[in-house]
Subunit: 475 residues, 2 copies
C-alpha cells in the first residue's frame, strides 16, 4: 500500500464516520422533513453504510420520524432483510403506511422476508386493494416469474385509438412516472393479453388508428410459473426490457421488468455464495439480531460437526492394527490429505453450481461432468501426490511415508473431484438445494475416504515390509 | 422424488440429447442458412447446453459454416469465456468478421477473455473505426463504468428541433433498433454533454421546439472511472434505465445500460463464488481445454498444500512432549477441530465478501465487524465446544479428552470467526482480491491454531495430572 492509499483510506474513513454522526445530528433536530431533505442529498451507498452503523433504536427512530413516503424511499435503499427487520419492530399501522408506499414487487420482497405473523398483521392494516395485490404476489415462489413481476403496468382494451392512448398517458403522467413505459399491453374483455404496444410505434402512427393495428399481435409471453433462470435468458437473448406475465388462460397478471429480473438473479448468486459457506437460507446481515444470526449459522455447523466426527471415526478403526509410532508419524498428514482433497472437490462443486445456474449442465448430465472432471482430477491428483510424496519424505526421512501420503492424496483427489462435480446435479434431481446440501456431504465423504486411504495404505505397507522386518507378528 | 418427476426428468433428458443430435444432423447438411434458421427456433438455454455437449471440432465447424452475423448471434448466447475460446481457434479473418457483428460492449467482453496476442490479431483484421472503438472500450477496467459502457447511443447537437430528431429516428429505424431508445443525448460542438432527452417528453412537445428546451439540462452523469458497484447503486436507486458516461472534461463517451450493468454485477457475483472455492480468476467452464482448466485450479491447490503442511507442522512439535498413547487418542480430533473452525470462519468470511459488495461494510470497518462477530462466535463456540466435549467423552470414555477438545474448538471458533470476518477487509485495503486471497490464509491460520490448541491443552493437562499419576517424569 502506498502512503497515498493510506491517506485516502483514512480520509474516506473519517468522511464515513462523519455521515453517521451527521445522521445523529439531523435526527436530534426531530423534524422529519428536514431529515428527509438531508437524506436526499446523500449517495445511496452512504445511506446503506450509515444505517448499518447506527444503533437499532436510532434506525427505528429515523423510520418513524419520516413521512411514510420518505421512509419508503429509505427502506428501498436497504437490503430486503434489513428493511424487514426494521419494519417488524415499529407499530403495525406505521409499518403498513410505509409498505403501502413501496412498488408492488419491492413490497412483496420485504413482506416475504418477515415472519408470517408479522407480514399478516401488516397486510391486515393495509388498504384492501393493495393487500389483495400483495397477497397475490407473495403467493408466487421467489424463483419464478411470478416472484419478480410488478403490477405497475398500463393496459388498454382492444379498439382503443392511438390518440386515446396518448391522451391517457398525458393525463396520468404523474401516476405512470415510475412505470416502465416502453411497452403497453392490449387486453380483451376477459383480461386476456392480445398484443403489446411499443411507445416508439405509437409515436409514428396516425392518431385515429385503433391500437389493434399498431400492436404486436401474438407477442412473446411468460407463464407465471416459469423459473427465474429461463425468464432471464429469454430477456437477455431477445434484448427485451420487459415481458408480460400471464396465467394458464393467457390472462395478463403483471410484467417482468428486465432490471428486476437481473436484480433477482444477482441476489440469487449472492445467496448461493452464502449458502456455500454454510449460512442457512443464504440470508444474513450483520445488522440482524445476534440470535437470528446464530440461527442462520449454528444448525449447519452442528450438522457438519456430526458428519466430521463420523468421518474421523475411521481413524480409531486402525488404532489396534498399526503401531503407535506409525500413527504418530501419520498424524500430521491425515488433516492435510483430507483437507486438500476437500479443496479440490469444492472447486468442481462450485463449478457445477455455476454451470447449473448458466444452464450449461442439467441434473442428468452426470456422464458429461464425470468425463470432464476425471481428466482434470487425474492430472491435479498426480501433481499433488508427487508434491506431498516429496514433502513427506523430507519431513519424515522415510520413503514409505512419502509413498503412502502421495498415493492417498492422488486417489482421494480423483474421488473428491468426481463426487464434487456430480453431487450438485444429484442433489438437484432430488429437489433439494444444491448450494446448501452438497458441500457438507462432500466434506464427510472426502474426509472419511482420505483417512481410510492413508491408514489402509500404511497397513498394507506394514504388512508387506513389517512382516519381513519383524515389526508386526505374522498373521 | 415422485415417479412423475422421474418421468419428466427422463423425458427432458431424452429431449436434450435429441437437440445435440439434431445439431449434428443439421450440421451434416452443410448449409449455413438452413442451420441458422434451425438454431433460431431453439430456446437460448437449449443452444448453450447443446453447444457445450458437442465436440470442439463440431463447435468450430458450426461457427465457420454460419454467416458472420448468424455466428455472432450464436456467440452472443454463450458465456464470454466459451466464445473467446472458440474464436481463438478459427482463422483470424473469420473471427474478426464475427467479432465486428457483436454489440460494442459484448465485443469488448469477448476480446477481454482472449490472450493479448489473439485479441490483437483480431483487432488488426477489423475495420479501423470499429477497432479503435474496441481498443478504447478494452482500455477500461472491467469493474468500472467504462468497462460496461456501450457505444450504441444517439446524440444530437444543441439547437436541433423536435421534428428533426423524430425524422432522424424514423430514417434510421433499422440502425437504432438495437439501441436503448428511452433516452437521447444532447451535446455541444466539442462533444460535451449538455442534456438528456426522454422519448416520452419528445412525443408530447411541439415539433418546432428546439431540443434545448425539451431536454433535461444538467443531467446525472457518471465518470468513466466510477466503480461498477457505485454505478449499479445509482441506477438502482434513481430507477434509471441508462446513464451517460463522460470523461473528466464532461465529453460524452458512451452509455451505461441498466441491464448491462446488472449483468456485469451478476457475473461478478458468480466469479466471487468460483474464486472462493479456489478457481483462479473466477473463470472456468467445462468446455475449456483440460490444460487451461488445470491452470485455473492447480496453482491454488499447490499453494494450499504448502500452507496446510506448514499448519500441520505444529503437530510434530508435540511428539516428544506427549505420550504416543495420548497422540493416538487425539489424532481423530485434530482434523475435526481444525476443519470445524474453518467452517465457522468461512461463514464470517463469506458474509464479509457480501457486505463489501453491498457497500454495507468498508475496508476500514474492522471494529464494527469484530464487534458483530465476537458475540456470534462466542455463542457458536460454546455450543460446538459442549457438543464436542460430550462426543469426546462418549467416544473415549475419558473426561479429560472431552475437556481438551471442547475448549480447543470453542477458542478456535472465536479466533476463526473473528479472523474470517476482518480478513477480507484487510486484504481489500492491501488492494488484493479478497475472494481469492482470504480463504487460504484463513485455513492456514485456523488449522495451525486448532492443532496448537488441542495439543497444548493436552500437554497442560498431562503436566497437571500426569505428574501426580507418574505418567511423565517430573521436570
Amino acid at each position: 500500500m502506498t502512503s497515498e492509499d493510506t491517506t485516502n483510506t483514512h480520509l474516506e474513513s473519517i468522511e464515513e464516520q462523519d455521515i453517521t454522526l451527521q445522521f445523529r445530528d439531523q435526527l436530534a433536530k426531530g423534524d422529519g422533513d428536514t431529515l428527509a431533505q438531508w437524506i436526499d442529498t446523500l449517495e445511496p451507498d452512504a445511506i446503506v453504510h450509515a444505517m448499518a452503523h447506527l444503533s437499532g433504536e436510532e434506525q427505528l427512530l429515523i423510520l418513524r420520524i419520516l413521512d411514510p413516503e420518505d421512509a419508503a424511499d429509505l427502506i428501498d435503499d436497504l437490503p430486503d432483510e434489513h428493511s424487514a427487520d426494521l419494519l417488524e419492530e415499529i407499530p403495525v399501522a406505521e409499518a403498513a403506511d410505509i409498505v403501502e408506499e413501496l412498488d408492488s414487487d419491492d413490497r412483496a420482497d420485504v413482506l416475504a422476508e418477515m415472519s408470517e405473523d408479522d407480514a399478516e398483521a401488516i397486510l391486515d392494516e393495509m388498504e384492501q386493494e393493495e393487500a389483495i395485490e400483495a397477497r397475490q404476489l407473495l403467493s408466487y415462489p421467489s424463483d419464478t416469474a411470478g416472484g419478480v413481476m410488478v403490477k405497475e403496468y398500463v393496459a388498454f382494451p382492444l379498439g382503443t385509438t392511438v390518440e386515446e392512448v396518448l391522451n391517457d398517458l398525458r393525463g396520468n403522467r404523474e401516476e405512470y412516472s415510475s412505470y416502465n413505459v416502453q411497452y403497453f399491453y392490449v387486453i380483451d374483455h376477459s383480461g386476456k393479453l392480445k398484443g403489446v404496444l411499443r411507445l416508439r410505434d405509437m409515436v409514428l402512427s396516425p392518431p385515429q388508428r385503433p391500437i389493434d393495428e399498431v400492436m404486436i399481435a401474438d407477442p412473446d409471453v411468460v407463464r407465471v410459473d416459469l423459473d427465474l433462470q429461463s425468464l432471464q435468458r429469454m430477456l437477455e437473448i431477445h434484448s427485451y426490457s420487459a415481458l408480460p406475465i400471464v396465467d394458464s388462460s393467457d390472462r395478463l397478471l403483471g410484467v417482468a421488468i428486465e432490471k428486476d429480473v437481473a436484480e433477482a438473479a444477482r441476489k440469487s448468486a449472492n445467496k448461493t455464495m452464502l449458502k456455500l459457506v454454510g449460512i442457512f437460507g443464504g440470508e444474513e446481515l450483520r445488522s440482524m439480531p445476534t440470535l437470528q444470526r446464530i440461527g442462520r449459522r449454528l444448525p449447519w455447523l452442528c450438522l457438519i460437526l456430526i458428519l466430521t466426527v463420523c468421518a474421523a471415526s475411521v481413524i480409531p478403526l486402525f488404532e489396534e492394527k498399526l503401531t503407535p509410532e506409525m500413527i504418530v508419524a501419520l498424524t500430521m498428514f491425515l488433516p492435510v490429505v483430507a483437507g486438500m482433497s476437500g479443496c479440490s472437490g469444492n472447486q468442481a462443486l462450485g463449478l457445477s453450481l455455476r454451470e447449473l445456474a448458466l444452464g450449461i449442465v442439467r441434473p442428468w448430465d452426470l456422464t458429461y461432468v464425470l468425463a470432464k472432471e476425471i481428466r482434470v482430477s487425474l492430472l491435479n491428483g498426480l501433481v499433488l501426490g508427487l508434491l506431498l510424496c516429496i514433502i513427506g519424505y523430507i519431513l519424515n526421512g522415510d520413503y514409505w511415508l512419502g509413498i503412502i501420503v502421495g498415493i492417498a492424496i492422488m486417489c482421494n483427489t480423483v474421488i473428491s473431484v468426481c463426487i464434487g462435480g456430480v453431487l450438485p446435479l444429484i442433489v438437484k434431481r432430488l429437489k433439494l438445494d444444491p448450494a446448501t446440501v452438497s458441500s457438507p456431504i462432500l466434506t464427510m465423504i472426502v474426509d472419511a475416504s482420505g483417512f481410510f486411504l492413508v491408514l489402509s495404505l500404511a497397513l498394507a505397507i506394514l504388512r508387506l515390509t513389517g512382516i519381513e522386518a519383524g515389526v508386526v507378528d505374522p498373521p
